[in-house]
């Protein structure tokens, strides 16, 4: 192992930067939704910042990402340009998908954001295909696909893990286990304690790992290992990050189905204050430096949001384009 493969204050700082960026974006988005500055269905990643950030720091722009409706943290961690992302949320022609796909279908191949799906579990089989192409072309690319705990109960999950193991594909299945699938508690849908245990059903090629998604070091290390494994051609990983979803399923979800004590216990483990504290304690940055960073991010984000808000809607003709390749 080279030095860069060891966790350090600077590694922590890398994770923190991405997590903070996600956190500021998410706060801005919720602010906008509350004020009516944006009208959209929004699936907040609040609570899952460190999961995306801890993985994101190990990925190259050329690596592939497949994510879900609750994917804004993954997209940001992957390096998706803010303006293209926000303009898509705002349904503008300047959005990555010209406003045609929308928030649930963000795509940006330049940064490896290949598919964002709104159908639970459907990204996993597609991720295999991206990894298969990489394997055939002998490229140095890892494919990351993220999904929720609920998605681990759908057929596509099973078929995809089986094929990935069989073909030893360079793919990482990252399950962000936030304790709920919509309004259904984990244990009411999933009778196994850890989703990573499901890896055992697919033989030795598939590694199964559970990690505390609130712990930057654990997330960083587990992600490093999964990425290294895939890059080396040693096979896929089912990486389960235990996390929590603080804002309910969608923004505005009253979340009455979440027991109060469960919520309170999760709040105690909120990764954002914890990582901030850890950064300060590690000496990687001071509170003042972090504030500065926040302001810098805030400014960047505001600018991009303004760009999105000010951009024009698509023209009506846009509806006739991109149906088939050979049509106008």
């Amino acid at each position: 192992m080279t030095a860069a493969e060891h966790y350090s204050p600077s590694a922590l700082m890398d994770v923190f930067r991405k997590a903070l960026f996600i956190n500021v974006v998410d706060e801005k988005m919720r602010g906008l939704l509350k004020s009516g500055g944006l009208v959209a269905v929004y699936y907040s990643p609040r609570g899952q910042e460190v999961v995306a950030a801890g993985m994101g720091v190990h990925l190259k722009p050329s690596d592939y990402l497949v994510t879900t409706y609750r994917g804004i943290h993954d997209q940001l961690a992957k390096g998706m340009p803010l303006k293209l992302l926000f303009a898509e949320y705002f349904a503008k022609v300047t959005g990555a998908c010209k406003g045609k796909g929308g928030a649930m279908h963000i795509t940006h191949p330049e940064t490896g954001v290949m598919v964002t799906t709104g159908v639970v579990g459907s990204g996993l089989p597609i991720a295999n295909g991206l990894a298969w192409a990489t394997q055939i072309k002998k490229e140095d690319r890892v494919t990351l696909v993220t999904f929720g705990d609920g998605a681990s109960n759908i057929g596509a999950f099973h078929e995809a893990l089986n094929l990935a193991s069989l073909w030893k594909l360079p793919v990482i299945f990252m399950c962000q286990n936030n304790g709920y699938g919509e309004c259904t508690q984990y244990s009411k849908a999933t009778p196994v304690e850890n989703i990573s245990e499901r890896a055992a059903a697919y033989g030795p090629n598939l590694a199964g790992v559970t990690v505390n998604g609130n712990d930057p070091q654990a997330m960083w290390e587990a992600s490093r290992d999964a990425v290294a494994r895939a890059r080396a051609g040693d096979g896929p990983t089912l990486l389960e990050a235990k996390t929590f979803r603080f804002m309910g399923h969608y923004f505005g979800d009253p979340g009455a189905y979440i027991p109060k004590d469960e919520y309170a216990a999760a709040m105690e483990k909120d990764p954002m204050p914890a990582i901030r504290q850890a950064v300060i304690e590690s000496g990687a940055a001071s509170e003042a430096e972090i504030k500065e960073l926040e302001q810098e991010y805030s400014a960047q984000i505001d600018e991009a949001l303004k760009f999105a808000a000010d951009s024009p809607a698509p023209e009506l003709e846009e509806i006739s384009r991109d149906i088939y390749g050979d049509a106008a």
Binding site: A91, G102, G118, N153, I154, T184, L316
Partner: protein
């Protein structure tokens, strides 16, 4: 009739009455029990509390398992109601529905049958984009052995959903996402409407508009306006059951008016309107004073941007101009 109810209340009432009337009526679907909030659209709210967790079960996100369990339980004498949260997710359960539910009666030579109801919800106009808005009823209409039902008033919703539940064949009951709070007169207790029978919703002599579901809400207004303002007398035939459809009522009406427009929300090509139009011209050739026209949505993925989504959708103005075109 004591007052008014909206569509959501209508579904609730049919479910409640059916469960109360017959202990063999059971339900399953994602988030449907009260512990999970009574369904993301609240249609099943209260049912698990009233009728017990045994009869109203929240499931994992596993649509094949949901429909399969409904089929199996129906073979054992139950009348299961399966909720598929949104119609696009039915794509993962097509095998169970088409190869099994629809065919078991025939393939068993009548020894078994599958009295299940699949409730699902869909429709564009709510900004849910490409994977959460599709009207796919034409697929199921093309399959013998399953009934496809779409209500256009809250009262019909009560009567038709109740009839689906107590029908001895598999029924697909489609609820509209956009109009769930639209109200109409409340029907009497125990209200049922026969499946496979269309309804002359408005009598008229100049042109027949044939449709089902949401576009009929528009058509009723247009017909009233045209009568008032231009003296055009529109007859509206509500199919209610899309398949098997009531040719007789449709042909009787068009034989009288000599003109027909078919309306539906689904894209035009290879949609339900094609069958209705093809049949009318076949049966009433020579009696038609104009071609049978169709007012439908466009042949394209449902776009995200509101302006494009509206451009995708059938427009009331399209219905009106189709009616007038037949009169030229």
């Amino acid at each position: 009739m004591s007052g008014t109810i909206n569509f959501t209340q209508a579904y609730q009432r049919a479910l409640y009455e059916s469960m109360e009337a017959d202990p063999s009526v059971i339900m399953l679907g994602e988030d449907i029990a009260d512990e999970e909030g009574g369904g993301v659209f609240k249609v099943t709210a209260g049912l698990s509390t009233k009728f017990g967790a045994e009869r109203v079960r929240t499931t994992p996100i596993s649509e094949q398992a949901i429909v399969g369990a409904a089929i199996g339980a129906s073979l054992a004498g139950m009348r299961p109601i399966a909720e598929i949260m949104l119609m696009n997710f039915i794509t993962v359960a097509m095998d169970q529905i088409v190869n099994h539910a629809a065919k078991l009666r025939f393939m068993s030579g009548g020894q078994t049958h599958v009295p299940i109801t699949i409730r699902t919800r869909t429709g564009a106009g709510i900004g849910a984009a490409g994977q959460h808005s599709d009207m796919l009823e034409a697929w199921f209409a093309h399959v013998a052995g399953i009934k496809v039902v779409v209500p256009s008033t809250p009262a019909d919703a009560v009567g038709l959903l109740s009839s689906c539940i107590f029908d001895d064949d598999p029924c697909l009951f489609i609820e509209d996402s956009l109009t769930r709070t639209v109200s109409g007169p409340e029907p009497d207790p125990g209200h049922r409407l026969p499946l496979g029978k269309a309804h002359v919703d408005r009598e008229g002599g100049d042109v027949t508009v044939i449709g089902y579901g949401r576009p009929l809400l528009d058509t009723r207004k247009i017909a009233a306006k045209l009568a008032d303002e231009e003296g055009i007398s529109v007859e509206i035939v509500d199919l209610r059951t899309v398949s098997p459809w009531d040719k007789e009522t449709v042909l009787n009406s068009v034989a009288k008016t000599g003109r027909a427009v078919v309306v539906h929300e689904a894209p035009r090509s290879f949609g339900v309107g094609a069958e209705v139009a093809a049949t009318i011209q076949e049966e009433l050739f020579g009696q038609l004073k104009a071609p049978v026209l169709r007012a439908t949505s466009r042949d394209v993925t449902v776009p995200f941007a509101r302006i494009l989504e509206q451009e995708y959708l059938y427009k009331p103005a399209d219905i009106e101009s189709a009616i007038k075109s037949t009169l030229k």
